[in-house]
């Protein structure tokens, strides 16, 4: 398997889905079965390769970049095709390929309207390339490219297959279809952030050394972090943080998220929640903090405060929602708040918490969006006030929804708990350079946030699952979970429980890498 370790394997994981997309393109439009098979086949092979990656990975040296390679790419600006995996990116890669497979499986019999399996599966595959690429890129420009590639398929998914209900756009006052508003908002928001992020990348490059010795290599830049100081570092961190914060999203850059998640088709929401949001948090861990550690400490209080505001704010916003999907969407803001709180502590515990929180949020919220999608597919409404008694009408779906809600509110033994709890734990003893009092206050507020989180999820469950079903559903064909749904959801349920019971599934890969990262960034 020498070829696999020399960087080819990783590149294969990144680009195979793209090949798959082209292959699907080559299939005639009428032959839907074949399109599905091809798409699933490529996704499965990619997933299989990522499992091979995970097996071959040397967990004893998870802080080292493995399976990496560096080839000349754009010599003129000093950017290379540098990829590699370490313990931090490995779980994210597996998560991405895993969720994508499930997304295609789920889609098998649930193509959103207007029906176009060909294009839809192509977009999913392109998205996969973008996602995995972002996680393996070790060159800032390469990272930027993949980071942006992700936007395109999602833009189309939301725009073409999104929610067609008419909404009145706040402030502007125009009435338009939800999908149109959401897609452009999503795109412009992210683009705005990433434009400044790119400026930050370039600024780092020019500060990274004398002419001729400059680099976009993240690892190399992290090693030269002493060069980035003063107001330069301040502004660069701000620029990078803006780009990442929009993606995460951190309050107050989050307003694209509820719209985009709500408007997106089921699979779009799943991928958006499960993987795309992680690009931002991952970037904080991978780029901002190792390269600008001192500045990260200066910014940490602000990030922490915003994260905690996000937790509380999202909870209240969720309490006000009447639309089930929008509620789940808003809950992401809160969960990512916990992730960002973990990052803001600038400790190894916090980073581990953040990563496991990311993975957990991926599987849990992914599952919840799947269910929300399937439910609105059957009920033709997402208004919780019109639902009720779902547990009676569809017991299995109700049970899975219940499980995912429990996981989402951070029930120990399920995946969501570790990220939440360990973030709070990390906030008790943040990095020595940070204000202990502030972070402990944040810890307390964050802990209170868990109560609110439980509140909105339980009330959602009450409205949706419990009670007697309305008579209006008597004549509606409400079949319980079908086989494709089962095949897509059971793996998620299993991973939720598995990560909850045995968190080493994630931390086993991340811990050494995180400890090393913290040591390199902050010393000692």
């Amino acid at each position: 398997m020498g070829w696999f370790e020399s960087g080819w394997g990783l590149s294969l994981i990144v680009f195979l889905p793209l090949v798959g997309a082209v292959a699907v393109l080559a299939v005639p439009k009428a032959r839907e079965e074949l399109q599905k098979v091809v798409a699933l086949g490529f996704a499965l092979v990619t997933f299989g390769l990522s499992i091979v990656l995970a097996i071959q990975f040397d967990y004893g040296a998870s802080e080292k970049i493995q399976f990496g390679t560096s080839r000349e790419w754009i010599a003129a600006i000093g950017s290379n095709y540098t990829v590699g995996v370490d313990g931090i990116s490995l779980p994210m890669i597996v998560l991405s390929t895993f969720i994508t497979v499930l997304a295609i499986v789920y889609s098998w019999d649930h193509w959103p309207e207007p029906r176009n399996p060909k294009m839809f599966s192509m977009l999913i595959l392109v998205l996969l390339t973008g996602m995995v690429g972002t996680f393996v890129a070790l060159d800032l420009i390469l990272f930027f490219v993949f980071f942006e590639i992700v936007l395109l398929p999602m833009y189309f998914m939301i725009g073409i297959w999104g929610d067609r209900t008419e909404v009145r756009i706040p402030v502007i006052g125009k009435v338009t279809e939800m999908r149109l508003y959401a897609s452009i908002k999503f795109f412009l928001f992210t683009l705005f952030g990433s434009a400044f992020m790119l400026l930050g990348f370039i600024a780092l490059y020019f500060r990274s050394g004398p002419a001729g010795d400059r680099t976009f290599d993240m690892i190399e830049l992290a090693a030269r972090s002493d060069l980035f100081t003063g107001s330069f570092a301040f502004w660069v961190f701000a620029a990078l943080a803006l780009g990442f914060a929009v993606k995460v999203p951190i309050f107050p850059f989050h307003t694209w998220l509820p719209d985009a998640h709500t408007a997106a088709p089921t699979v779009g929401s799943v991928l958006l929640a499960a993987v795309l949001l992680k690009l931002g948090t991952y970037a904080f861990i991978r780029i901002s903090i190792p390269i600008l550690p001192q500045e990260a400490l200066n910014w940490a209080p602000a990030i922490g405060i915003l994260a905690v505001i996000g937790i509380i704010y999202a909870s209240f916003a969720c309490l006000a929602q009447t639309d089930m999907k929008r509620l789940i969407a808003f809950s992401s803001v809160g969960h990512m708040g916990f992730v960002m709180l973990g990052i803001a502590t600038m400790t190894d515990i916090g980073f581990n918490a953040a990563i496991i929180g990311m993975v957990a949020h991926g599987v849990i919220t992914g599952l919840m969006f799947f269910i929300a999608g399937s439910m609105s597919h059957r009920y033709h409404t997402r208004e919780m006030s019109r639902l009720g008694g779902n547990q009676k009408l569809m017991p299995i779906m109700g049970a899975i929804l219940g499980l995912s809600a429990m996981a989402s509110l951070g029930l120990p033994g399920l995946a969501g708990f570790w990220g939440e709890f360990m973030s709070l734990l990390a906030a008790f003893n943040p990095n020595p350079a940070l204000n202990v009092g502030l972070f402990r206050t944040l810890m307390v507020i964050g802990a209170i946030g868990t109560v609110l989180t439980a509140g909105y999820l339980l009330w959602m469950m009450q409205k949706v699952n419990f009670g007697e079903p309305r008579e209006s559903w008597d004549d509606v064909d409400l079949h319980d979970v079908d086989k494709w749904e089962m095949m897509a959801w059971v793996p998620l349920v299993i991973s939720i429980i598995a990560i909850g019971v045995y968190p080493r599934i994630v931390t086993g890969a991340t811990n050494d890498a995180v400890v090393e990262l913290i040591k390199n960034a902050f010393g000692g």
């Binding site: 916003a317 309490l319 033994g413 868990t450 419990f466 080493r504 811990n511 995180v514």
Partner: protein, 681 residues
């Protein structure tokens, strides 16, 4: 050893080596991981395969529970032969310096809990088979029930704080499922949510307490934390012990339903009766007391969280007194028992605060039997009259003799009548209050004696209203089947004799059992019976029964007529449960769910999006006007400049010129401006 413990009230025993040989428990302890695992596995197995089994999953639940009961008995006997201390741990993941561990602990405290959960649980499970027969979600019920017991056992087995959280919350979620078992009814699911949320509020305390204690101690293992406490060298831990201890106590207040977080427990009656029995007797509500017991030295060793103790005593005393009073006005039989549980929990918690570790656990132990008994008996009654309301009962003595007898035994035990189980444990608690110093202890003592009186009063009320007089319900009640009465009889037997295992001056087996090796004991067991205190407690109870007899022994048409003691102000206050629920709902929950949440949502759409969409709108707006200027705004610009310069027709002439000339104007103007600018600067 006994004498040593008994004679040194309030004195720390630091020299653990004096406690004799430590037994690692051998195979029995090393396999004890099965205790939490078996019910948990059973719970999942029931979900997936239960429906296909002949008894629809009950046999799995019963088997698991029976296994735990047997294991608990074995461990109890093994512990009698010598103290066992065993800690198993499997590493489950690393977070930087923190290693997460799953483990199981076998020592006196946990063995006692295994025993209680296992034995009481088994009896309740037997009972439930018959009670729940025909329920639409029979299988699901036993899955949740197993999860409930399993969660409790995870909690009890936890050798570290983090696993404790896991068990703690599993118990919470299982209780949510069970309380909301009949979720078709909105009130039931609301009760379930209430239970979960109130516990979640308390869990904030648990989270913070665990974080504070664990982080400052640098370890989450009880054994290591308590060893540090004993050694007294960790100044950081000392500094934070008060906060951490207080936070953990808040957690205990939630699970053990202490005032003012007690509100969920009465509502939890929405679940089927076996759930109430198990929840009130063995699992869930005992978790808080267990937690205090497990971390007991933290509150007891000077320099740590000793200042929390008065708070614990006051909270416990208030709970035992205030909730006891509410029990007096309840008409729902189960609610009477529920408030009585609250009251008894108040005793246990206050006892912990008073430093009476053994007394508190002992009361927990005896209470498990008689409260389990009372609930099951109440369930038996309810099963037969199809109503919870005591106004629909009366005269059942004749119809349900076994139930009647066992219920009375339970009531007497609860009221603390010599020589039943409750007498011994309650007496020990009162003695502890008396021994402890400080205003809080006195407060607890007075309220404790008053509480004994109130307990007897409301229990006699319940007995009279239910079993005496004329039957007021519909149909003919009949005695319950064997599956129901047998557990009643067994529990009645325990209620009769359980107190004897820790009779002062006679036996100290329970004290020895629960004396945990690595905890630094500040505990005592009275060497001999304290006759003064016993007399005080007993006479208060007898007085209560007497007054109860006077008030309720005579039958009457209406409940109002029987409840003759309607004191103005106090009665409505009790009926409204001191308005605490109203305060929570109207003061906190509704505003948060309503106006506050809506305000945040509005803020999202109108303030943040004001900037976002406003930027978009601004761009469009600017675009519109720039475009207009670009294309035709020149006219006005020229008029303006013409007016300004006063130039006559020559400039105005331009107005009539064509568009292309306006472009030309712009070009020349731009050129001139730029040239002028550059020449000047």
């Amino acid at each position: 050893m006994l004498t040593f413990l008994a004679t040194n009230a309030n004195q720390l025993i630091l020299a653990t080596e004096e406690l004799g040989e430590i037994n690692d428990g051998g195979l029995l302890a090393s396999l004890a991981w099965l205790i939490p695992v078996v019910p948990m596995v059973a719970a999942f197995a029931i979900v997936f395969f239960g429906r296909r089994l002949p008894h629809k999953g009950w046999e799995l639940a019963m088997g698991a529970m029976g296994f735990v009961g047997l294991y608990g008995i074995l461990l109890a006997f093994a512990t009698m032969n010598g103290e066992i201390t065993y800690e198993g741990a499997i590493s489950m993941g690393e977070f930087g310096p923190i290693v997460l561990e799953w483990g199981w602990m076998v020592d006196g405290l946990s063995s006692m809990m295994y025993f209680v959960v296992g034995v009481v649980g088994s009896l309740v499970f037997i009972y439930a088979k018959s009670y729940m027969a025909g329920d639409i979600r029979f299988t699901w019920f036993f899955a949740s029930f197993s999860l409930f017991a399993g969660g409790m056992l995870v909690l009890v087995a936890a050798p570290n704080l983090i696993q404790l959280i896991v068990g703690w919350e599993l118990v919470g979620v299982a209780s949510y499922l069970l309380i909301g078992h009949y979720w078709e009814d909105h009130d039931n699911s609301s009760a379930a949510i209430k239970a979960f949320l109130v516990n979640k509020v308390a869990d904030v305390g648990l989270f913070l307490g665990v974080i504070i204690i664990g982080t400052t101690a640098g370890t989450f293992r009880f054994s290591e934390i308590l060893a540090q406490v004993a050694a007294g060298e960790n100044d950081l831990l000392k500094k934070f012990a008060f906060l951490g201890g207080l936070a953990l106590f808040i957690a205990a207040m939630g699970k053990s339903a202490q005032f003012p977080l007690h509100v969920w427990l009465p509502d939890a009656m929405a679940g089927p009766t076996p759930v109430s029995a198990l929840m009130h007797a063995a699992t869930m509500v005992t978790a808080g007391v267990y937690l205090l017991g497990r971390t007991f030295p933290l509150y007891f060793v000077e320099g740590y969280a000793v200042d929390v103790r008065p708070i614990i005593m006051i909270v416990g005393a208030l709970t035992l007194f205030l909730t006891g009073l509410i029990a007096l006005v309840q008409t729902d039989l189960k609610k009477v028992l529920a408030y009585s549980t609250l009251s008894q929990l108040g005793y246990m918690v206050a006892a912990m605060g008073a430093g009476a570790y053994t007394a508190a656990l002992f009361h927990l132990f005896t209470h498990a039997f008689f409260k389990g008994l009372l609930f099951l008996a109440a369930g038996s009654v309810i099963h037969s009259v199809h109503s919870n309301e005591m106004t629909d009962m009366g005269g059942l003595r004749k119809y349900m003799p076994t139930t009647y007898k066992t219920f009375v035994i339970g009531s007497l035990a609860l009221a603390g009548i010599f020589p039943l189980a409750g007498f011994w444990s309650k007496d020990e608690i009162l003695v502890a209050f008396g021994k402890a110093s400080g205003g809080a202890a006195n407060f607890a003592l007075y309220l404790g004696i008053a509480g004994a009186f109130i307990t007897a009063l409301y229990m006699s009320r319940a007995v009279y209203l239910t079993f005496f007089g004329e039957f007021k319900g519909h149909g003919t009640p009949h005695e319950s089947p064997k599956m129901i009465t047998v557990p009643l009889v067994v529990l009645a037997g325990f209620s009769l004799v359980a107190g004897l295992i820790n009779m002062p001056g006679f036996s100290s087996w329970f004290t020895e059992l629960t004396a945990v090796r690595f905890t630094v004991m500040g505990d005592y067991h009275p060497k001999a019976i304290n006759f003064g205190m016993a007399a005080a407690g007993l006479s208060a109870a007898l007085l209560g029964i007497l007054i109860g007899y006077v008030l309720w022994s005579k039958d009457a048409e209406t409940q109002a007529a029987r409840d003759k003691f309607r004191i103005p102000l106090l009665y409505p206050l009790l009926e409204r449960k001191y308005y605490i629920d109203d305060l929570y709902m109207d003061g906190i929950v509704r505003p948060l769910r309503g106006p506050v949440a809506r305000a945040v949502d509005w803020f999202n759409g109108h303030v943040i999006d004001l900037f976002v969409n406003g930027a978009g709108a601004l761009a469009k707006f600017v675009g519109k006007y720039v475009y207009r200027f670009d294309q035709s705004g020149l006219d006005s610009a020229i008029i303006a400049s013409a007016a300004a310069t006063g130039a006559g027709g020559s400039v105005l002439r331009l107005l009539q010129s064509g568009r292309v000339q306006q472009y030309a104007v712009m070009i020349f103007a731009g050129t001139v401006v730029l040239v002028a600018g550059f020449i000047i600067f």
